[in-house]
């Protein structure tokens, strides 16, 4: 649809005020339109011109913070990342992300998702506690080893994948694409040694077993993280582990500072550290 001559668009917003309303309901607002407006820009206009009490989360307005996940014309998307002109209609229907309780208007309660995420130890787990507490250097990691998990590290925790997942739609016990993809991100990081720890959680109901590859999570992900791929790769790893076919590997070694080197002529000393 050609938006060059469109002067106004209609916003259908799912409103819910817990102090006043029994249930969510739709309300419509007309706002002026200019080419290049994102759905988030439109929401600011709605708030300014019609509904000062409208609530939503947003922050960076450039698709890196993951705050503005919402249901836009039936699809979970980021408000700041979605041009009104790519919606093919002049009516923009905006609702809160499904599969999460609604706090108010467009604000979902993402607490359960983050709690599950925490359960899966989303950080490097290693045995050398002294090094983890007081790091003395870097860990060796090749570009090939980086490729194994880099894609999954782009996750901005927006929750769009959770809203799109059919299993998460009925089953709150399923961990969901975001926590599982992040667990796999750490399992495939060569610096990490926490597979056994995460497996305890992943082998049971919280694991990837309720994923049936509907693929919607990867289709809606605004950062191309492809959680569906992470989950299938994780299943392979867990099955291989159960059948005792998984190759054990040592976590990445510490890259020690080079010894026996001398400073070159003319290279100045570094300034004293100001932190720590």
């Amino acid at each position: 649809m050609d938006f060059t001559n469109v002067k106004e668009v209609t916003y259908r917003v799912r409103r819910f005020d817990p102090d006043r309303d029994q249930a969510p309901h739709w309300e419509e607002y007309r706002i002026p339109y200019a080419l290049g407006m994102t759905v988030l820009d439109g929401l600011w206009l709605v708030k300014e011109l019609h509904a000062p009490g409208l609530a939503w989360r947003s922050s960076c307005r450039m698709g890196v913070c993951g705050s503005c996940g919402m249901l836009i014309n039936g699809s979970p998307r980021l408000g700041c990342n979605t041009q009104i002109s790519e919606l093919a209609t002049t009516t923009v229907a905006v609702g809160p992300l499904p599969n999460f309780n609604i706090i108010k208007d467009l604000v979902p309660d993402l607490g359960p998702m983050f709690a599950t995420h925490r359960e899966l130890s989303p950080f490097i787990v290693r045995d050398d506690h002294e090094e983890m507490e007081n790091p003395s250097g870097e860990f060796w990691q090749s570009p090939e080893e980086l490729e194994h998990y880099l894609q999954f590290s782009y996750c901005i925790k927006c929750g769009c994948c959770m809203a799109a997942c059919p299993t998460y739609a009925t089953d709150p016990l399923y961990a969901g694409p975001m926590p599982l993809a992040q667990a796999h991100r750490y399992n495939s990081d060569s610096r990490d040694h926490g597979f056994a720890q995460r497996r305890e959680v992943l082998a049971g109901e919280r694991g990837p077993w309720r994923c049936h590859f509907a693929g919607e999570c990867s289709r809606v992900c605004p950062k191309g993280v492809d959680p569906a791929k992470a989950i299938q790769l994780m299943k392979r790893e867990l099955v291989a582990d159960y059948l005792r076919l998984r190759s054990q590997r040592c976590p990445a070694k510490l890259a020690e500072a080079p010894k026996g080197i001398t400073r070159r002529e003319g290279v100045p000393e570094a300034p004293a550290p100001t932190v720590g």
């Binding site: 709150p172 082998a203 049971g204 694991g207």
Partner: protein
């Protein structure tokens, strides 16, 4: 308690077993006019005529493969059904009841079906 990673692995393996054995079963029962294999429907006519059923029951290959198929298909199907019912998330008591019922159903039908397969063989061989 058997964890989901184990049950799921067996679910997939059972699926592969079913692909082979149910494929053979469909070949005999529903693709017999498209791909004729005389030894599997020796009496000609319809695959479910008693003559064919008895002829197959005589060969030990059939009760053995039926038992394998029965076990694999019951496990695969009932595990899938259990997953669908559990995903509806209707409470812990419901889940416990479903698990017990499906387990009893599966074991019961497996025992009955296996008995029937070998009883049919004994009967056919005595005729």
């Amino acid at each position: 308690m058997t964890r989901d990673n184990q049950l799921w692995t067996w679910h997939v393996l059972a699926g592969l077993v079913i692909f082979v054995f149910l494929g053979l079963h469909m070949l005999i029962m529903h693709l017999d006019d498209v791909i004729k294999i005389a030894s599997l429907n020796p009496a000609g006519g319809h695959p479910i005529d008693w003559a064919n059923v008895a002829a197959r029951a005589k060969m030990i290959f059939f009760p053995v493969t039926y038992t394998v198929l029965l076990g694999a298909a019951l496990f695969h199907g009932l595990y899938g059904l259990k997953n669908i019912l559990f995903e509806l998330h209707l409470g812990a008591a419901f889940k416990r009841a479903v698990a017990v019922v499906l387990l009893l159903l599966g074991v019961g039908l497996f025992v009955y079906g296996t008995w029937a397969a070998f009883a049919a063989t004994a009967l056919a061989r005595s005729l």
